[in-house]
């Protein structure tokens, strides 16, 4: 359990402690600006997947709104 917590909080700690050194200059964003580097790079597929897993599993949401709008669950 302790290990799990550590793993869970590692990214948080990294984010908070490293804020000043993390990041890039504005002109260094050419790679980050690519469509495939967007956090949701294929919104249509993500939407379809969310719908499938919403109707097949007990969990939903996380990335965005838990949503629903479907009588399937």
């Amino acid at each position: 359990m302790e290990l799990k917590l550590t793993v869970c909080f590692l990214p948080v700690v990294l984010l908070l402690s490293g804020c000043s050194s993390l990041g890039v200059e504005p002109w260094e964003r050419s790679t980050l600006a690519k469509p495939e580097m967007q956090l949701i790079s294929d919104p249509v597929s993500s939407g379809l997947d969310d719908h499938i897993y919403f109707s097949k599993e007990g969990s939903s949401g996380g990335r965005g709104f838990a949503g629903g709008g479907c009588g399937c669950n």
């Binding site: 200059e25 504005p26 002109w27 260094e28 964003r29 050419s30």
Partner: protein
């Protein structure tokens, strides 16, 4: 207007030894077209095509006009402006240059001229004035999402650093569609040549400021390829014995220290050669080292 156009837009064609030489004025520079073609009619047509293209680009991208897209963008007061494909391509190119140069090449830096006057005088601008203008500089502060450009109020763009070289390359492309003969274009020292001359002779071009090139006095020999020059040794401020060159750092708003006075770069296109020359100036004291690393032929005036 028609009169003005006739006066401004004069072309002159004369026969030289084995080629035709056309000349006209555009972009505040003398422009020359060297054409190794037999037919005078063809030469006249080529001159017409090249000059029309140069004037088209000048009128479309000049920041001194009030009837073009650049004026529209610079007076958009923060509203999005929809641009055509050509402007979009130039904006894409400007963005890539900005990224490749890590922010040093910036088409929004022109507003710094409001506080900097490189007239050979001694007056430096006040720091707070520079800082005030600098808040309107920075490509990352505008929004470029093809085909819309949104420029925050107070910012300006200026294609001056690209326009002449772009016009040379564009004009040459258009001429190549018309002839296979050897052609050289020289717009105010920015040069591009295509096609082998008969007998393999190089073109000889008179150069205004030969001090910057390791060539015989005032004459440059060119076979094929492009040459572009950046820098102007005459534009500076001399303050307390210190020389401030006219190359401004868009991140600080102050002149780049130790910049070369003039750089000439050879390349396959005038646009690319011109960009490398400009970037070399922006590198300050490291300009020459920068050029050596790019595997290009170049000449510098320290």
């Amino acid at each position: 207007m028609i009169e003005g156009r006739e006066i401004d837009h004069l072309v002159n064609l004369k026969a030289e030894e084995g080629y035709w030489l056309g000349s006209f004025e555009a972009m505040a520079s003398p422009c020359e077209i060297f054409m190794e073609v037999e037919d005078q009619n063809l030469a006249a047509r080529l001159l017409d095509i090249a000059s029309v293209e140069a004037w088209r680009i000048e009128s479309k991208f000049s920041r001194y006009r009030s009837d073009n897209i650049v004026h529209q963008i610079n007076n958009s007061k923060g509203r999005p402006v929809k641009v055509d494909d050509e402007v979009a391509h130039l904006l894409d190119f400007a963005q890539q240059c900005w990224m490749l140069s890590e922010g040093m090449f910036d088409i929004t830096s022109g507003v710094l001229r409001r506080v900097w006057h490189f007239d050979g005088g001694s007056r430096l601008p006040e720091k707070q004035d520079v800082d005030q203008v600098l808040s309107h500089v920075g490509w990352h502060k505008l929004t470029w999402s093809r085909p819309y450009l949104t420029l925050p109020d107070g910012m300006e763009i200026d294609f001056g650093g690209l326009g002449k070289e772009y016009a040379v390359d564009r004009s040459l492309l258009l001429l190549q569609k018309e002839t296979h003969g050897a052609v050289l274009i020289n717009y105010g020292g920015d040069i591009n040549a295509k096609g082998q001359r008969k007998g393999g002779k190089p073109w000889s071009i008179g150069i205004e400021n030969p001090g910057q090139l390791n060539t015989p006095m005032g004459v440059l020999k060119v076979n094929q390829g492009a040459l572009a020059t950046s820098g102007d040794a005459r534009r500076f401020i001399l303050n307390n014995g210190r020389r401030y060159g006219h190359i401004l750092n868009p991140k600080t708003g102050w002149p780049v220290e130790g910049a070369l006075r003039s750089v000439t770069v050879a390349g396959s296109t005038c646009t690319e050669a011109g960009l490398l020359a400009t970037l070399a100036l922006l590198q300050g004291e490291e300009g020459e080292a920068f050029l050596k690393n790019q595997d290009v032929t170049f000449w510098v005036t320290p």
